[in-house]
Symmetry: C2
């Protein structure tokens, strides 16, 4: 029986490959490495592979029914959950890589501080080479935060805000199950109760049918006028038109979006000109950070050991839930 692994990734260093080879050797597997410009070679190899470590729907679509495990190097796997036709074998295991929490949390801390400390306005002042420094700033210390999503990202954000003296951190999740990173976790069905007392809303939700436009026009109106909205989950989670209108109308203090719908954002989208907005091109979780790449490989190797030993996979995705 085949013990081949097809690895189709761009970010691997020689060290990462050596680490995968060594784990594979110990567990009786043989890895085959391809970069993104070797699609045809990867596809040919995949035909006799049991495991695929990649992030490519196009490649996955070509896999035979003998593929037993697809390890996606990304965290967001909605694409793979929505379309069962991608898997020739419906029992093929799907894992994702929840290793983006650290880098995304650093992004969230950065944009939170940029909003609280009025950096979009100071950028304009300094861009004119003028010198005015009396804009009232606010701080993470003693402030209250609401985090939509209590997974890897939400927890890493909460831990960092806590370290900087946040007064209260409320998490919202589907289950509402408590987690020590949060002062309280409430079910997402309580969202309408929580929004009116939210000062900074951090959105870190996967894309599922339940989360599409979860922050709709009515809910944006529930936020106080001095609230900030930060989205690092999926662009579809909020109503961008309503957000831009609230910002421009002074109904919201500011926003920072790293994810948008669609991406790239069209050049004539009103978001570009919205008041007090920080836009970044989906970089909060990008793969250029060594730590993220190292952890990605480490998690794959750990799950390869699990797989070989017949243990449950740590990164297993529930395709019905979408994460």
């Amino acid at each position: 029986m085949s013990r081949d692994i097809c690895v189709y990734l761009e970010f691997l260093t020689e060290g990462h490959k050596a680490q995968i080879r060594e784990t594979a050797r110990r567990t009786g597997f043989v890895p085959h490495f391809f970069t993104l410009d070797q699609f045809e070679e990867a596809k040919a190899c995949l035909q006799h592979c049991k495991v695929l470590y990649a992030h490519s729907a196009d490649l996955l679509r070509t896999a035979p029914a003998s593929l037993r495990w697809y390890c996606c190097s990304f965290a967001g796997v909605d694409l793979y959950c929505k379309d069962p036709a991608l898997f020739a074998n419906p029992d093929c295991l799907l894992t994702n890589s929840n290793v983006y929490g650290v880098t995304i949390a650093e992004h969230v801390v950065m944009v939170t501080l940029m909003l609280l400390r009025r950096m979009p306005e100071y950028a304009v002042i300094m861009g004119q080479r003028s010198w005015s420094n009396q804009l009232p700033v606010r701080s993470i210390r003693d402030n209250e935060f609401t985090i939509l999503g209590t997974g890897d990202i939400g927890r890493n954000v909460a831990e960092r805000l806590r370290g900087m003296g946040a007064a209260k951190i409320t998490g919202l999740s589907r289950s509402g199950r408590p987690h020590p990173a949060f002062d309280e976790v409430r079910p997402i069905s309580d969202l309408d109760d929580v929004l009116p007392r939210t000062k900074i809303l951090v959105m870190a939700l996967p894309s599922t049918p339940d989360t599409i436009h979860i922050l709709n026009r009515e809910r944006i109106a529930l936020l106080p006028a001095d609230a900030y909205v930060i989205n690092v989950g999926r662009g579809t989670a909020l109503d961008q038109t309503a957000l831009a209108e609230a910002l421009n109308g002074g109904k919201l203090a500011g926003a920072a979006l790293d994810v948008m719908d669609p991406e790239p954002l069209p050049k004539d989208d009103p978001l570009w000109d919205a008041r007090n907005i920080i836009l970044t091109p989906h970089v909060s979780g990008n793969m250029t950070l060594g730590y993220t790449c190292d952890e990605n490989v480490a998690r794959f190797c750990a799950d390869l050991e699990n797989y070989a030993a017949g243990r449950p996979l740590a990164g297993l995705v529930d395709r019905a839930l979408g994460y």
Copy 2:
């Protein structure tokens, strides 16, 4: 004997005034409050006061020899240490308000992340409404920091970097005395040894004769080309011309200056156009943050209790050292 206190400050709320009145009542003092547009009234009152709580060399200069304690609401008191003629009575006590560590540390975390995550470059990309997201980012986690100055600011910075997973935090101070916020504290005379292995240099030094241009051209050249320089202490602590040249020549990765010499920075200063620089108009420790104002008043009140009880003042400045 007079038990009058002259308070000449702009930031006080009614709550702050009530707090000062109550502490004064308990300790047998009488406070008199003036805003900055009441200079003449404050000056007239000061003539029979024992205590002055303000930040004004002009007012201090008019004080009689009977003034026993000047509580400066700012942290940087170099101005008052340099010029003995400001004090009619050479034995007048001088205290400063080391309450800016929290807000300045939040500023430092913000600009550190902005530099590591390439925000000056992403601001240009997004300003053109284009969408490119492959600039390699770095993280606070697993990074090494050198902090020049281990006082209130340096410690607050170190604690926050630690909370975000910094690998190593080296402090440098005059004495080199260890402090738990740092992995190690070395005497500032070791600076030349520390700079070549510094990835992020945070400068939080008071202005004294010893710190003027402490980061001179030769020392800037000792930093690695991928290092970042952040200054929140005093603008005079670094050679701005050499810094701009190093940035433009690719000898340094970036810099964030909240303090400059002079301030405001002249419109034709080469710093404005330096590569990968973040300039802010001396806002990191500004008085618009409620927490900073509250702490300022709380420290004054605590030292008023100390003063009345004949105990040493917590904020006492050594005028020979300058802090």
